[in-house]
């Protein structure tokens, strides 16, 4: 009567194959992702991080792929450990409202000790914006918001004191290269 045992073993083998397929996708694909290094981006050509928004990345920046969502208009770059996140979205409010929103988010981050008042800035392409600097426990950064034709772009630079200080100039230069195309 080997039929029952044979069926049981075939079932077990089938189950192992199915489980291997599931785990292959659930664990294997993330493992492949981790094995591939983040891509370096050009610091001379504009990077289109949304349908109608682009930025020229700073030198030696890599795209942090697992914190980047192109379909949502979000890109996160890393420069020597400093994170540089840009997001573009449709925003029906005012520039100040856009700034207030990101200020609220930053204030709620643990360890943030002080945020400067918003200062007016202008991008290289003439888009009006607001900017504020914040400091926290061994970290610092700033946010910049631009608003043009109902599209808001938020850029946040965040990192440890040494890293931000070292790369401040190129990061500030990059933030000023934000371009928002007119939506038709």
């Amino acid at each position: 009567m080997g039929g029952g045992g044979s069926a049981w073993r075939r079932n077990l083998v089938g189950c192992i194959v199915v489980a291997a397929g599931v785990l292959g996708l659930s664990l294997g694909v993330p493992a492949i992702d981790r094995a591939i290094p983040d891509a370096t981006v050009s610091s001379t050509n504009p990077l289109e991080f949304a349908d109608n928004a682009s930025v020229v990345p700073p030198p030696d920046a890599t795209v942090v792929s697992d914190q980047t969502s192109p379909d949502q208009g979000v890109v996160t770059m890393a420069v020597d450990g400093v994170r540089y996140r840009l997001s573009a979205e449709s925003f029906p409010g005012t520039l100040q409202q856009l700034a207030d929103r990101i200020r609220g988010v930053v204030q709620n981050v643990a360890g943030i000790q002080a945020i400067s008042p918003d200062q007016p800035v202008t991008s290289n392409s003439g888009i009006p914006g607001l900017q504020a600097t914040y400091v926290g426990e061994n970290r610092t950064g700033w946010y910049t918001v631009y608003l043009s034709d109902g599209t808001g772009v938020t850029a946040v630079v965040d990192g440890n004191d040494a890293g931000v200080t070292e790369h401040r100039d190129e990061l500030e230069a990059s933030v000023r290269t934000v371009v928002i195309d007119r939506t038709t």
Binding site: N11, C15, A19, S26, V29, D33, I36, D66, P70, D71
Partner: protein
Amino acid sequence: MSVEQAATPPPPTPGSRRVFGSWSAAARWPAVWFFIALSIAGIVILGIAFGPAIAEAPGAFVLAVVLFAIHGAVFVTIIRAVDWLEPEPRWLFAAALIWGGFVASANALRANTALESILVKMTSLGFVRDWAAAIEGPTDEEILKTLGIVMIVLLARRQINSVLDGVVYGAFVGLGFQEIENITYSLNAVAAAGDDSLSAVLQVFVVRGLLAGLWSHTVYSAIAGAGVAYAVLHRERSWFNRIGVALGALALAWLMHFLWNSPAAASLTDYAGSYGTLLVLLIKGLLILGTFLVLLHFFRKDEYEGVAGPLESLHNPWIATHNEIVALRGWRSRGRARWNAYVYGGMRAYGRVRQLQRAQADLAVDMRDNGPAGYQARMPELQRARYGVHELGITDADALHPTTTSGMISFILAFAVLINPIFLILPLGFLVFGVARARSRRQRADPRLRTAAILALVFALAYLVSVIARSAALV
């Protein structure tokens, strides 16, 4: 007797649809434990991923669960109607739903995130923006859902008796995935809105449930299920043929999913705006649904022939007349036979014809699967059902029906309800008058009178829901 032998599902018992002889036998079957373990892991993954979002917006979560549960129930009813000739065990349906909803969706969440990250590393952001959804979704999700159909085969191989069975189990796996994905999309929409927003949930329900729901995961996985069932059933064919057909069906499911997610014809939306978007979605959706319905027609025909053959071979009108066998073919013809009975003898006659149809289908399926033993096991049930119908004076529960002008007018008038719900009274009036006249003259009534009344009621209900939704939006 070894443990392995005790755990092996016994040969099918005529007259019964049980898969395992007992709970302890089920507990010794490897597939049961693999299924449970993977399901628990899936629930944990989803809980970790969406637990905070649920805690942030409990009201929206409850609304999403309720709306998509109702949405899913409609699909369950449709799939059960397709599966009427040989209904599958409910616990297997539940298993298919659980796999789709928890195992496939949870693991797809991880795989999709990783695959998008890989695409970001290896291609441009613009490419990822346009094509990531078209590549990730079909690749990860279709494979995971198809593995669920294979798991159903491992749980209960003997329940797969026709290609249509694979379609049905595949549809249930896809439905589970679709509804859980809809709920997670609702939570994401609420999070994007920034509060416990019910309107974001309603928006997701309209877009994903109503506009895109008909040609979604349920359809894709049903196609993949057909391939798995073919591979399981056609053991007389070569491995190459069986695996080839299964992979071909999976490839078709992938292609349908890819088509839906792809930015194909997106340029049309640039010129034609939101109407262009809707048109593109409609064309894609109808292409997917149309392909599926054509295939489904052949799968259903195949299953019907498997049922009609044994009944016809008996040449016994007491068991089933030729017209009754013809009436078993589809839900419309079965419904028409019951409608004839209703017009003739009211709800009691309707119910008894339904019982007769059920008994005839069960007898045919058991004869197909178990031969004379199946015939013996199912005959008492059929005898009772036949006596019940005979007692009311119905000798032939056929689906033959007249086509009348009043039926046509009533059908057209049903659409008037879209203009004003007061017109509901017209199809209902035609229905009451038509049935009363047919009964008084001992004639049959046009089934379109009933169809028109149901359609008008659905339109009236939709109108009522839209009024309530508008009121809620104003508040």
